[in-house]
């Protein structure tokens, strides 16, 4: 089991009603962790067009996560 620090932005903040949290999880990739969040908060939005950040850098959905990583799922952006 690893500990992950998550921040929630945009519609993920709406789904989770949180801006951040720390989770203990057996997920070892962002993909697995995202599926776990969907189940935990009972939403099913999928992650098409989403990206993921690991420790404040863009990462891959199948990157291997380490204990204590900061994870952010990034819905389609709309700055400017």
């Amino acid at each position: 089991m690893n500990t992950y620090h998550l921040q929630y932005f945009s519609l993920l903040g709406d789904f989770t009603k949180k801006s951040c949290e720390t989770l203990t999880s057996k997920a070892s990739t962002p993909s697995e962790l995202y599926a776990e969040i969907e189940a935990l908060y009972s939403f099913s939005h999928g992650k098409d067009n989403f990206r993921v950040a690991i420790n404040d850098e863009f990462g891959e959905w199948n990157s291997v996560l380490n204990d204590g990583d900061n994870i952010v799922f990034i819905p389609p952006v709309a700055g400017g």
Binding site: Q7, F9, S10, L11, G13, D14, N49, F50, R51, A53, D56, E57, F58, V72, I74, P75, P76, V77, A78, G79, G80
Partner: protein
């Protein structure tokens, strides 16, 4: 000093010209993006911007570094709002100085185009009927697809 800033306060008060002035620069091009009163045929009353600041600043600075590689420019400064904005408020201001105007125009347009599809900032629009929603720009959806497929 970083030349990409996320600001929770009004950016109208920031003297962006001073940040890029040089005696060598003949052309200054500014993009000022403001909240308009409609989007895709819906009437907008106000909105909120949210930013993942740590990554937004990194990605913003990467875009500016790319602009310096591509274009013969002198200085760049960019600031993007977070928080509550009203119609007419500036959401983003970007300024580029260069010897000649052509490169300043090209670099300014390049940076704002890349910012819109790459920098983790989100916009929650509120409509006259009381509803609200997170905006997905079509360009950035395409961009994410492209990343996944490549």
């Amino acid at each position: 000093m970083s030349n990409f800033l996320i600001s929770a306060k009004a950016i109208e008060d920031i003297d962006i010209v001073e940040k890029v002035s040089t005696r060598q620069s003949g052309g200054y091009v500014i993009f000022d993006g403001r909240v308009r009163d409609h989007n895709e045929n819906r009437d907008v009353t106000h909105l909120q911007y949210q930013a993942y600041e740590a990554l937004a600043v990194k990605e913003g600075e990467r875009i500016i570094a790319e602009a310096f590689e591509k274009f013969n420019i002198h200085k760049v400064f960019c600031v993007h709002r977070t928080g509550d904005l009203q119609i007419g408020d500036s959401a983003v201001r970007l300024i580029v100085s260069a010897k000649h105007r052509g490169t300043a125009f090209d670099a300014c347009e390049f940076i704002i185009d890349e910012l819109k599809i790459r920098v983790p900032i989100w916009k929650n629009e509120h409509y006259t009927d009381g509803s609200s929603g997170w905006v997905e720009c079509h360009e950035c959806s395409k961009h994410a697809h492209h990343h996944k497929e490549s």
